[in-house]
């Protein structure tokens, strides 16, 4: 059967199980868009900026585990995707981006809206393609989806010239792939697994650091089994949040620059670190030379290049976290580390890193805590970048693997709203809250139009401190309070929402917080709350840049008490 290149794209996407595409069209990709009405299974969501097409596809992918798809036209459409692609690359989110390209005879001639997008995205994609015949579209799409979702997932870009969309070719979707250069290892090496088990069975002060790899491979149950059988406390990276239930007695929160003091102390004192699906990012390890000074390290990761990249590793195991944990679990001898766990509990009591202090004014931490209380934790939180992101990470209990979605590796302001749209579109039954900063929100607030047009029922909580808060915090602590270019005059967000046809309220007082959140929840569609919070509140604990995890700065004592609310303790302790 002969089909046009554009039809082949659509047929192939359907065969890959695609149901949603985020994008914006233009001249070179118009022949593809022209065919979309013939494929009602493919829902197209028109965004307002291509960066957000990529972020929405990214959010969709993280929430559903499926490959997110975005479309853009050549030239500026394609370059606008770049931030979103880089974001997905650094956080290993599976994505396929399809861009239009100028027609073949014009390539290399600096034609109107021609850019070398495969060249530009070379270092931020897992792989990319420029397709030069309609007859290779099907194979390319098959490969792209396979590459995007397997091994260490990531974004793949396919650039298709305008005339290739219009060229006809025989269509049959290949059943098999031939990627000789790509064979991700799933099973761990048995000898390495035995070595790891020996270390686990013999450790006195073992600690698991769980990363996003656990979530990607769906290894939460296996992780829990390991933690419980060998009584190993669990801490997570920022993107590992939710991989292990935070209300579990063995959960000690997040490590890193804004991790809990006790999680960082645990890393500092552990005699064995079991790092799973994480890559020792500098925000997580702080000063690498001071990382886990007393600990041997088992590193489980699917990407061989992550082994030994940043820290020395004693037992590396390359493979899929779930497959490897299953094997490890078979060999475990049940043990207890009562003293060690008690020690961590003690540190947790002495250093209540997630307590919300008493304040007359409205604290951002208090807002996050109330969202937790009103939703009873049954929500997916998607964040902006900055203080809002850290407060969202610290003051909500995440018990489900995909309940916290955030831009970790790239730290992209503006990720929140478009990603939340992607999450809600992918999981319409879930309650989705976008917890954002006033600065981050303003980077992509045009997506309120997408929210309105598609009636995406996301709830938006802006922690409006009138500052690029995280940078202001650095200026306060490390630049003698020279607040250069961090003061931010925002618009009236409630009026902005209203202009887009979205209801919203402004909240200035503590008493209004819970009722406003309840009102948002009662609303069937989208809702925005502008929380006017204390402008100069800081995120604590904090490991200063360049310091090691042990040198954690806690909230000044006057700030830490009295408590208006409990610290984030495991439920069984309250």
């Amino acid at each position: 059967m002969k089909l046009s290149g554009a039809d082949i794209v659509c047929e192939s996407l359907i065969r890959e199980g695609v149901d949603v595409i985020f994008g914006i069209l233009g001249g070179t990709i118009l022949p593809l868009y022209d065919k979309l009405p013939g494929y009602p299974q493919l829902r197209h969501i028109l965004v307002r900026h291509e960066q957000c097409a990529a972020h929405s596809a990214d959010g969709y992918a993280r929430a559903t585990g499926k490959v997110g798809v975005c479309f853009a036209t050549s030239g500026p459409g394609a370059t606008n995707l770049v931030t979103g692609i880089a974001n997905a690359y650094l956080d290993s989110a599976p994505m396929v981006a399809i861009t239009g390209q100028v027609a073949r005879p014009l390539i290399g001639k600096d034609a109107f809206q021609e850019v070398d997008i495969t060249g530009i995205t070379l270092p931020i994609t897992k792989h990319n393609y420029l397709v030069l015949e309609a007859s290779s579209i099907a194979r390319t799409i098959k490969e792209a989806f396979y590459l995007a979702r397997t091994g260490r997932p990531g974004p793949v870009l396919i650039d298709i010239p305008r005339d290739v969309f219009m060229e006809e070719a025989e269509f049959h979707y290949p059943a098999k792939l031939s990627l000789t250069g790509y064979k991700p290892v799933l099973e761990g090496h048995p000898t390495q697994i035995k070595k790891a088990v020996k270390l686990i069975n013999e450790a006195q002060r073992p600690l698991i650091i769980a990363g996003r790899g656990i979530i990607i491979s769906g290894a939460s149950a296996e992780l829990r089994h390991l933690a419980e059988t060998s009584q190993v406390p669990v801490v997570t990276t920022l993107l590992g949040i939710g991989s292990f239930p935070e209300s579990h007695i063995l959960s000690f929160g997040m490590i890193g620059m804004h991790g809990t003091a006790y999680a960082n102390m645990a890393v500092d004192n552990a005699d064995l670190i079991i790092a799973i699906g994480m890559r020792f990012d500098d925000r997580a390890t702080a000063k690498v030379s001071g990382f886990a000074p007393a600990g041997r390290i088992i590193h489980i990761d699917i990407d061989p290049a992550e082994i030994g990249k940043n820290v020395r590793v004693d037992v590396p195991i390359v493979g899929d976290a779930r497959v490897i944990l299953k094997e490890i679990n078979k060999l475990l001898v049940p043990v207890q580390h009562l003293q060690w766990v008690r020690q961590l509990d003690e540190w947790r009591k002495e250093h209540p890193s997630t307590a919300v202090r008493y304040s007359e004014g409205l604290l951002p931490q208090f807002v996050v805590r109330k969202i937790y209380e009103v939703t009873k934790g049954d929500a997916t939180i998607v964040t902006g970048v900055g203080q809002n992101q850290m407060w969202a990470a610290q003051h909500f209990w995440y018990d489900h693997p995909t309940s916290f979605i955030s831009s970790g590796g790239l730290g992209t302001m503006g990720f929140g709203l478009p990603a939340a749209i992607g999450v809600k579109v992918g999981c319409p039954e879930k309650t989705v809250w976008c917890v954002d900063g006033d600065g981050s929100f303003q980077m992509t607030l045009h997506e309120l139009a997408t929210v309105a047009q598609e009636n995406v029922g996301v709830k938006i909580a802006i922690l409006n401190n009138g500052f690029l808060g995280m940078v202001r915090q650095w200026q306060e602590l490390f630049y003698e309070k020279r607040y250069v270019a961090t003061r931010l005059s925002g618009p009236d967000f409630v009026k902005i929402a209203e202009a887009y046809g979205i209801p919203g309220v402004r909240v200035k007082y503590k008493e209004e917080v819970a009722p406003a959140i309840e009102r948002a929840m009662a609303e069937p569609g989208p809702f925005l709350i502008d929380f006017v919070v204390e402008p100069e509140e800081n995120v604590y604990p904090m490991v200063p840049p360049g310091a090691s995890l042990a040198e954690v700065m806690e909230a000044p004592v006057t700030e830490a008490k009295p408590l208006s609310d409990s610290a984030k303790l495991p439920v069984s302790n309250i």
Binding site: G181, K183, H189, P316, V318
Partner: protein, 178 residues
């Protein structure tokens, strides 16, 4: 300790593959001494020989990062195995009627060839390992080298073993066998 490593990458002969490799070296700050590319014994696959200067950890990273490039089929570090390696150089040397004989003697000792004779120069072709080529260059420098072109190292494992295409991964299978 830093030392020179010879890596061999068998790659799909597709547009962009060299670009991908070069981009990776630049981005991660890997110091590549030489790179030589040409067809391999398998149609559609090229063989890239790289000389990397660095300690074992860095070279391991180069190898693993290269292996991640989808169009790279296999990467092998030949350094610790028995290998034969060669480089080719073309050297254009200033030569007058008085020095020409002396140059020819040196060329003979090195089993090199003179492949072109000009009015005031001769062009020497030499193959061998780097040391040999370096020594010849040093000797000829006294006469004045007008132009020099070197190919960079190419290498094969001795005997039957080799990085023939097939399973991805190398003898140091995915970094596990420490």
């Amino acid at each position: 300790m830093a030392s020179k490593h010879t890596l061999v990458a068998v790659v799909e002969n597709r547009p962009g593959v060299l670009n991908r490799m070069a981009s990776l070296f630049r981005r991660r700050g890997f110091n590549i001494e030489s790179i030589a590319v040409g067809h391999s014994e398998i149609p559609g696959q090229s063989r890239v020989t790289l000389v990397v200067d660095g300690n074992t950890t860095i070279v391991e990273q180069v190898r693993k990062q290269l292996d991640k490039v989808i169009d790279v089929i296999k990467v092998t570090d030949l350094t610790d195995s028995e290998m034969v390696d060669r480089e080719l150089a073309l050297i254009k040397v200033k030569a007058s009627s008085t020095t020409r004989n002396e140059i020819m003697q040196i060329v003979n000792i090195f089993r090199a060839n003179i492949i072109d004779v000009g009015f005031d120069s001769v062009t020497v072709e030499v193959t061998g390992d780097e040391d040999k080529i370096d020594s010849l260059c040093n000797l000829l420098r006294g006469f004045g080298i007008k132009e020099l072109a070197r190919t960079g190292r190419i290498a094969l494992a001795r005997g039957g073993a080799g990085p023939a295409a097939g399973e991805k991964g190398t003898s140091k299978s995915a970094g596990q066998s420490h």
